[in-house]
Structure formats: structure tokens, C-alpha cells
Amino acid sequence: MSDVVASPSVRARARETGIDLERLARDLGRQTITREDLDGGKAAAGATSYWDVDHAQYGPVTEQPMSRFAQVAAANMAAAQALIPAVTHHDRADVSAVEAFRTSLKAEAQARATKLTALAFHVKALARCLRDFPTFNASLSADGKTLILKRFVHIGIAVDTAHGLMVPVVRDVDRKGLWQIAADIADLAARAQERKVRGEEMGGASMTISNLGAIGGTGFSPIINPPELAILGISRTETMPVWDGETFVPKPHVPLDLSYDHRVINGADAARFMTHYASLLADPRRILV
């Protein structure tokens, strides 16, 4: 018999909704799982399933099976959303200096055959921020009684692939230069497309970045990748007028969205974290000092 106590109907429901009870019990730090736990703490809305609908009665439909991969990812998303009281903080950073620096390094990038992406700067700046705010570089213990502070800085990169979302991790980014980080991201992203990222190359991140900058959007609320405490969403850089005291000058700004676990991080901490982050990006020399 399993150590997890759950009645047969709860076990059946967990199976139907793709929830791994052993894992849920570990995440909740307890042995007994009830019906309500499966609904993320909310009371079940009777026996109604919102998804048990005959859609064909409203018009023609075709069915496309969810891959195993997609089913697991869906269950993880649902569990993360249900289990973490998350808040999303919005900010933006002036990236004029980063863009100028990137332009100045174009020739060298060509020579090295490595594209020095804006994402590499984000990773580097985030690493510095995590060093400066150690409680963001942490995870809660399973019983919720201990905060485990990480003395390494690994950054997960959410990669959109043909078979679904994957999150390979760039290790020890605080000890790597921008070229190396850019090369690591390019390598992991390329292999993720071919599903050739090894299991040990995923997991263990301090925080994850989800970058939609190349696609578009002015902001979004990313879902935290447990057991991490926060995730940083990046949207498309926009040029906006900034008052310099005398006149409006056009400045490129990147929208930033930080979703964080409110059990550990408070709003004021998040605001301070993001202000610091934006200031590092606005003047990347400050990452060094």
C-alpha cells in the first residue's frame, strides 16, 4: 500500500485529471490527500466537469490527441497554478545601453560566429540580481518549514519547440561571460528543438526566463516552474518617448513581468528586485561592479 492516504474515489479522480498523488503529497508536505486538494484547495463544483461537453452539438469538430509529453506538461502547469499563490509584478527597463553595446560588438560576434543576444544580457543581469537578493534564489522545503537558499546560480530558459515547451538550464551563469552564456543558450535551444536535451540538463534552476520578445506582446503572467520561487517574462522591446527634462527622446524599453511565490516573496521585495534588475539592464556596466 502506498504511504499516501487517499480514498479510492480521490485516486480515480487524480488519475483522470493526470495528477500524480505521490508528488502532490510531497508538494503539500502531507500524507493525506482529499478531494479538495485535487481542485487546488477550492471546493469541487459538484461532479461537473467543465470539459465533459459534446462540442459537436454546436458545430463540426475534429479531435487531436494530446501527446504524452503535452499531457504531462499540462498536469504540471495545472498543479503549479493550483499550488502556488502567485503574484505578477510589471516593470520595464531602458535597453538603449544594451542595444548600443550589442551593436558595437557585431563585428566580433561575426568573427566568433556567436550571436550576442539580448537574452544573454538578461541572463547575466538576472544572475547578478539573484546574488544581490538571495531569498529569490531559493526553494521551499516540501513541508513548507524551511527556505533552502542556493549558493549557485542556474537559469532555466523556456524554449518553444515543435513538440511543446521545454526548459533546459544554463548552469553557473554568474561565473560565465556573455559570449559563453550566449553560446550555451544557442546550443541548448537548438538541441531542445530536436528533443536532444538530456534529463540532467533540465531542472535545478534558480529561476526561469520566458522570453517572448521576438514574437510580440506588451506583457503576460508567466506560471512559476516549481520548486522555483519566481519566473521572469520578457515581451517585445518598444520605443517610447522619455522626458529628459527638456524634451521627449525616443528610448527602447523592454516590458518585464515577474511572477513570484507570495508565500516567500512580498510585493515590496519584488518591486525592489525588479527596480534593481531594470537599473542593471539600463547600465550593464553595473553588473560588473
Partner: protein
């Protein structure tokens, strides 16, 4: 679509097969159910659970009639009309199997009478007729094991022959002291046979809790049944005057008998299906391995019931049948429990589920036991019950119930409470704090829990 094509074909109409076919039909599937027998219900209804329980009921009443003499109520020695008893048993079987035919018709399950063999991954031969299918469920059950080197003789019966009630032999020897062997001993000794049971292991009902089995053993001996454990039958000789079993081990010597019942276990029927043609592996015991979803190695072929190995019990087959039907129809079902209750309908009954002490020890699981003797149960004594025991195995940390063994009248019915408690993760406290009616045998479960908690006032 061709008349010889099945969307879902179920092979075998035992408790596994018919449950699967009916559940699938209820889920909207078009189902074909195949079995060579003239009636539905498989071994369980035709030659297993049901006819044996009918005869055991008669045995129970015969004994009650004798014992009521001690209560100052004399009914006299029962006179047994074997043909009448046989008819009654057959009538019950007929009523139930006939009922199944009606249930199949109402669900539009197409019943095909015949023996099926695979000819490919999606094709079958049913008595010479070629069929194709999209999905198949193998539910072909098991058959009694024959022992090598025994003579062919019509006085040597398997359980099926024994249930036909051909005669009441003067001297009957039953080889095999498992559930089926002991149930037959209970029936025939009540009908008047001088009955001997021979068991290879060092206890009857091997695997069950030795303390509970000890009580059953003593009661059977008290009834006049002779039991030899740790004894093997080395050979059987048949002459016109009778049968002779030569035994070795704890009992060494010859036993003379007028009939023998062979009850040494059952063998899965997986080997009779040409399952290799469908790419389904069958092991050397005739069993087909399945996962919790009842899937074989082939994604569109499932297997359920006795053909998937032990415990070979009807309720396991039925639950697997539902799981297979649901999984085959796209639902996320699974048989996610190890709690398959087992009941010997002997007198007294022996019933158990979950971990025994020996199993907990072997698996290194922390455990304690608590028990309540039925000699202290008012209900047991006032209804003429003999010795009995309710024994619970529990986790000393959480006080969750891990196993239950009961011996006594109606132990099989009582076991359900313990199984539900285990499935719900109930603790001894939950059981003790649940109000049980007085006087009932169910109180013995609450009393056993209270005893462990130190709150018992009835002992």
C-alpha cells in the same frame, strides 16, 4: 461493416468477461462476447462460486440442525435427497446464468458461442469462422490442475465433478487444503463422507494468517475431518474395490478412498489461445502479464481475470473487467489496489485482506497486531457460533489498518468493513469511534481496534 468484425471482442464470459462486455456496452461500445459454454457466467456461475455456495448453504443447515439439539430443540437426523439438492443448486445456477443472458440482450451485447483462437494481431478464428476486431479483451479464465502420473478414473474428481454431486462417497480424500479443497471437505463431510484432506504445505490455506487458520483447522477436525499437512501424495492406485493414495511426509502411509477430489490449484488458460499470433506473450504457467490498466504488450489487447494470474478470484476478475472496458474506451481507469479480499466459505468462515504479519515482516513494514476473540462476543455465543477471531495488522505510527484476518461465522461479510477502512486509510481510532450496533459480530472489529487503543471495556 462486416458481420464478422468486432469493434470490441471479449473472449470468455466469466465474471471478468461479462462484466467487461457489459461495462463497455454501457459506455456506448459495440461488443461481441465469445464463450463455448451454453450459458454465460464462466467458471464462477456454472461450476465455481455459486454452485459451491449453494451446497455449502445446505451443509451449514445440516450442521445447524444437528447442533440445535444442544439447545433443547431436537430436529432429528436430516435425511438427504441428493437429487433434490442437485436440482436446487442447478436451479440457482440456471436462474443466475439466465439472468445474465437477459442483461446481455438488454445491452445489445452480441453473444457468439464458440472457442476463439488468435490468427493475427487483429484477427480470430471462432470455431472455424474468421473474425476481425479492433480491440480484444482476453478473459478465458483457468482450469483445474491435473497431477501427472495419476490414473484416469471416474472416482477421481476435480472441483467441477465434485459440484455435480454424483454421489456421497463413504470415504473421500481431498488432495489440496486450499479454499476450494476445504469448501468441498465442508460440503461432503456434512453430507456424510468420512473426509480426509491432504496438504503439501505446513498449514491449510497456505498464505493466510496462521493464528486464524489454527482456529479453522481445529474446527474442521472437530467436525470429524482428518487433516494431514506437510504431506505429499506420492501415487494413486485405482482398483475396482477402491482407490489408494500413498502419502509421504508428516503422514506416511496409505489412505483408502471411494473418491478423490483433486484441488491442487488452477492453471491459467492463456496457452490455449494461440496468443503468440496476436503478439501477446503467455508465460509457462499459461498466464498473461498485464499492468494496472489490464494492458498486455499489445496496446489494443487487454487481459483480465484468472488468465492474468493470482489471486484467482471472481471479484478481482470483475474489477479488472471494468478497468479494461474503461481503458479500452479511452478512460483513465486502473486497478490501483492490492486489497483483494479472500474468503473461504467453510464452517467457520476464514476471510482476510491486506497484509498478514508474515507479509509485513518480509516487506520490512513496521506493524503491530491487535485482536478480539469471538469467545467474548455476545452475538457469536448467542447465535451458536464456536471459536473465532478478529485480528487487525496496523501501522504503529499512524494506526492505519494494514491487514485484517477474520475467522468465524459470516467472517466473509464482516471483512468488507475492514477492506473499506483500509481503502479509505482509516485508523484504529476511526474504527473505534464509529458506533457499531450491539450485539453484532461487526463489533469484534471495533473491539479489536479499541483493544489496541486501550479503550476496550468488553475484555
Amino acid at each position: 461493416m462486416s458481420d464478422r468484425h468486432a469493434e470490441l471482442v471479449v473472449l470468455g464470459a466469466g465474471p471478468g468477461g461479462y462484466a467487461c462486455a457489459f461495462r463497455a456496452a454501457d459506455l456506448g461500445r459495440t461488443v461481441v462476447l465469445v464463450d463455448p459454454r451454453p450459458t454465460l457466467g464462466g467458471v464462477c456461475l456454472n461450476e465455481g462460486c455459486i454452485p459451491s455456495k449453494a451446497l455449502l448453504h445446505a451443509a451449514e443447515v445440516i450442521r445447524d440442525a444437528r447442533e440445535i439439539g444442544d439447545w433443547g430443540v431436537a430436529l432429528g437426523e436430516p435425511r438427504i435427497d441428493l437429487a433434490g439438492l442437485r436440482d436446487r443448486k442447478d436451479g440457482i445456477v440456471g436462474q443466475l446464468t439466465g439472468g445474465l443472458t437477459g442483461l446481455a440482450r438488454r445491452r445489445k451485447v452480441r453473444v457468439v458461442r464458440g472457442t476463439a483462437r488468435f490468427t493475427g494481431p487483429d484477427s480470430l478464428d471462432i470455431d472455424g469462422v474468421a473474425w476481425t476486431f479492433d480491440q480484444a479483451v482476453i478473459a478465458v479464465g483457468s482450469a483445474p490442475i491435473a497431477l501427472p502420473g495419476w490414473p484416469e478414473d471416474e472416482r477421481i474428481w476435480d472441483s467441477t465433478a465434485a459440484l455435480e454431486l454424483r454421489a456421497v462417497p463413504k470415504r473421500l480424500t481431498i488432495v489440496g487444503g486450499g479454499i476450494i479443497g476445504l469448501e468441498m471437505a465442508t460440503v461432503y463431510s456434512a453430507l456424510g463422507s468420512k473426509t480426509t484432506v491432504i496438504e503439501l504445505s505446513d498449514q491449510i490455506v497456505p498464505g493466510a494468517d496462521p493464528e486464524a487458520v489454527g482456529i479453522l483447522h481445529a474446527a474442521l477436525v472437530e467436525e470429524g475431518i482428518e487433516i494431514h499437512t506437510s504431506t505429499r501424495v506420492a501415487g494413486v492406485k485405482a482398483v475396482r474395490a477402491g482407490l489408494t493414495l500413498t502419502c509421504e511426509g508428516a503422514f506416511a502411509g496409505d489412505i483408502k478412498a471411494d473418491a478423490i477430489i483433486r484441488a491442487v490449484g488452477r492453471r491459467a488458460n492463456g496457452g490455449l489461445l494461440n496468443a503468440e499470433a496476436a503478439g501477446v506473450a503467455v508465460d509457462d504457467r499459461g498466464e498473461i502479464r498485464v499492468d494496472a490498466q489490464c494492458r498486455t504488450g499489445q496496446p489494443h489487447i487487454f487481459a483480465i481475470g484468472d488468465v492474468t494470474g493470482g489471486p484467482m478470484l471472481a471479484h478481482r476478475a470483475t474489477h479488472q473487467g471494468h478497468v479494461a472496458a474503461e481503458v479500452a474506451s479511452g478512460h483513465a481507469a486502473a486497478l490501483d489496489t492490492v486489497l483483494i479480499p479472500a474468503v473461504a466459505y467453510t464452517r467457520p468462515q476464514l476471510a482476510w485482506a491486506g497484509l498478514t504479519v508474515a507479509q509485513a515482516k518480509e516487506a520490512g513494514i513496521a506493524h503491530k497486531t491487535t485482536s478480539f476473540p469471538w469467545a467474548a462476543s455476545g452475538r457469536n455465543l448467542s447465535s451458536g457460533g464456536g471459536d473465532g477471531l478478529t485480528k487487525l495488522v496496523y501501522c504503529p505510527d499512524t494506526r492505519r489498518v494494514l491487514g485484517a484476518s477474520l475467522v468465524g461465522a459470516n467472517a466473509g461479510e464482516l471483512l468488507a468493513e475492514a477492506v473499506l477502512a483500509m481503502e479509505m486509510g482509516a485508523t484504529l481510532d476511526d474504527i473505534a469511534l464509529t458506533v457499531h450496533a450491539h450485539p453484532t459480530l461487526s463489533e469484534t472489529i471495533a473491539f479489536a481496534a479499541e483493544r489496541a487503543l486501550g479503550t476496550l471495556t468488553d475484555l
